[in-house]
């Protein structure tokens, strides 16, 4: 039996590969044309590392492996940011054998806070946070309303997608796109887009499987 956490991460990796050129092209417009290349380099390495884990690896182990692998292979801005997110989530998952709603919310929160602290950015600066933070809030609200976890994830995806649209309307003040000043207006942020792709891939994965875990 395959490890469900590993399978979920692999589904995310496949989504990154499918969107490699799309993400790179978005980065070409307002950055340095490598975001898709970076994400794929990272998630291809992740697949290798996860393959070497024992099948019974728990969520914390999987998340920590993803974190360390992204940190040591992606580089750029997105590597330390996504890496830190997974690392913080791993810390929350430590010792947990199943993921209930409250755990999922604190995992997600820890991840988003990790990115905010590492990148010293806040919402509205045209970064991945403009997708992730609203997604987190929608997710937490859903859990608060006692909705089933897959529905909460659906809400998170929708919020992230709106976040992408929002990044088109603002000027970047963090990351490489900030050098563009007003010229970054109208362009969608590559990191916000990869965050949405990640959540969407997770959501699709959960829909395809019996909803035993988030």
């Amino acid at each position: 039996m395959t490890n469900v956490y590993v399978a979920a991460i692999e589904a995310i990796g496949e989504a990154m590969i499918r969107n490699k050129e799309y993400l790179t092209d978005l980065d070409a417009a307002i950055g340095d044309a490598d975001h898709g290349i970076n994400m794929v380099r990272g998630f291809e390495a992740v697949r290798g590392k996860l393959g070497a884990l024992p099948p019974e690896a728990d969520l914390a182990t999987v998340l920590k492996t993803v974190a360390m692998t992204l940190i040591s292979t992606v580089g750029g801005a997105s590597g330390p940011l996504y890496g830190t997110a997974f690392l913080r989530a791993a810390a929350v998952a430590q010792g947990k054998s199943a993921v209930d709603g409250a755990t999922a919310v604190s995992l997600f929160m820890a991840a988003v806070n990790g990115i905010k602290e590492r990148g010293k950015a806040t919402r509205g600066e045209k970064t991945m946070l403009d997708a992730l933070e609203p997604a987190y809030e929608a997710f937490a609200a859903g859990v608060g309303d006692n909705k089933p976890l897959p529905d909460c994830l659906e809400l998170a995806c929708a919020a992230a997608e709106r976040g992408i649209e929002y990044t088109k309307t603002i000027v970047a003040t963090k990351g490489r796109a900030s050098y563009l000043g007003e010229r970054s207006l109208g362009h969608q942020d590559p990191g916000a887009t990869s965050s949405y792709i990640l959540l969407k891939a997770l959501n699709d994965f959960c829909r395809r499987r019996p909803a035993e875990e988030a």
Binding site: A33, D34, N38, G75, A77, Y179
Partner: protein
């Protein structure tokens, strides 16, 4: 894409092998890492580590040696290296007096080097960092990421490196590096784009008569595009921007770097230097030293940057101190 390579995936690895094979007197490769360190590392002095994406050669590996860097970390082309690589460099060059990280101000570089610094600190290695932000093309503001680090970084390597070589403490080396950063300003322009091997196509396009002013060294757009003008007019514009940010007055002493981005002939860089010297001369500034060459490149991009560093007695002396590295030798 027309490049003399074997494959985009192997180009950084093969380049590093080529450097290590070419310059065994100067550098050695850290096995298993994209790191070049001084042949004799570690040595009992403060060590300097820099690095960044590849594609800016001879930066940074070419400046590993006596009086400049102790370690250089190479990321994928135009992509900051990862923290574990930087951490390995730090461990390999640390001689017990501490390590200064010289970081160019890009979010990716800053984050990865910072994480490496945290890893080193956790192992009890004393680490400090400075962030170079000399590019006046981008407005500075405390609310944004601020200016980019470009060719002026080499003056930090040279001057802080000389201070470390002279036995300065980590705090002293850092102080000198920060003094250079406070006094160095650069700006560039591009005539043509470059192609990242893994991307396979140019990262932007310019019309036959169009140039990009304020171009970043990774192909990031600059302040604007305009029609190609005579060299003297372009230089005057860049110098205006540089001196507006860091004015020089009669009697000031400066160092100048006219840096080629990789695809521009030295002939043109010297035509540029002629006008730079004329402008500084008209202000009454004395040029203590001029460097002209392809030092901080963007693969085969055509274009150049100008860097002006205001000198005081201390940094002038350190600038003129000897250095011996693959790409920068000075008696």
């Amino acid at each position: 894409m027309k490049k003399i390579i074997n494959s985009p995936e192997q180009v950084v690895e093969e380049m590093l092998q080529g450097v290590a094979l070419a310059h065994p007197q100067y550098v050695k490769r850290l096995e298993g890492f994209n790191v070049l360190v001084r042949a004799g590392a570690p040595s009992p002095k403060v060590a300097l580590v820099s690095g960044g994406g590849s594609g800016h050669e001879p930066t940074h590996g070419g400046f590993v040696g006596k009086g400049m860097l102790d370690g250089a970390v190479a990321g994928a082309v135009f992509t900051s290296p990862t923290p574990d690589q930087v951490f390995e460099a730090v461990k390999a060059v640390n001689g017990g007096k501490g390590v200064l990280l010289v970081i160019k101000n890009y979010t990716g570089d800053v984050l990865n080097f910072e994480m490496a610094g945290e890893m080193a600190a956790a192992e009890g290695i004393e680490v400090e960092k400075v962030v170079v932000d000399d590019d006046v093309a981008v407005e500075n503001s405390t609310w944004t990421t601020g200016r980019r680090g470009i060719a002026g970084t080499l003056f930090v390597h040279k001057i802080a490196g000389a201070k470390a070589e002279a036995g300065g403490s980590l705090a002293e080396v850092k102080r000198v590096a920060e003094k250079v950063i406070a006094n160095v300003r650069s700006m560039g322009m591009a005539l043509s784009p470059c192609t990242v091997p893994a991307a396979g196509k140019p990262s932007f396009t310019l019309a036959e008569d169009e140039v990009e002013i304020g171009m970043g060294i990774h192909g990031e757009p600059g302040t604007h595009r305009e029609a190609l003008r005579p060299a003297d007019e372009i230089v005057a514009h860049l110098m205006d921007k540089i001196l507006a940010d860091n004015p020089v007055a009669a009697g000031d002493e400066v160092a100048v770097m006219v840096n080629g981005l990789g695809g521009t002939p030295l002939m043109e860089l010297y035509v540029v230097n002629r006008k730079v010297a004329e402008i500084l001369g008209a202000k009454g500034a004395a040029i203590a030293k001029t460097y002209v060459g392809n030092l901080m490149t963007s693969l085969e991009m055509a274009g150049f940057s100008i860097t002006v560093l205001k000198l005081d007695r201390e940094i002038k002396e350190l600038l003129l101190a000897p250095a011996d590295t693959p790409a920068f030798v000075q008696f």
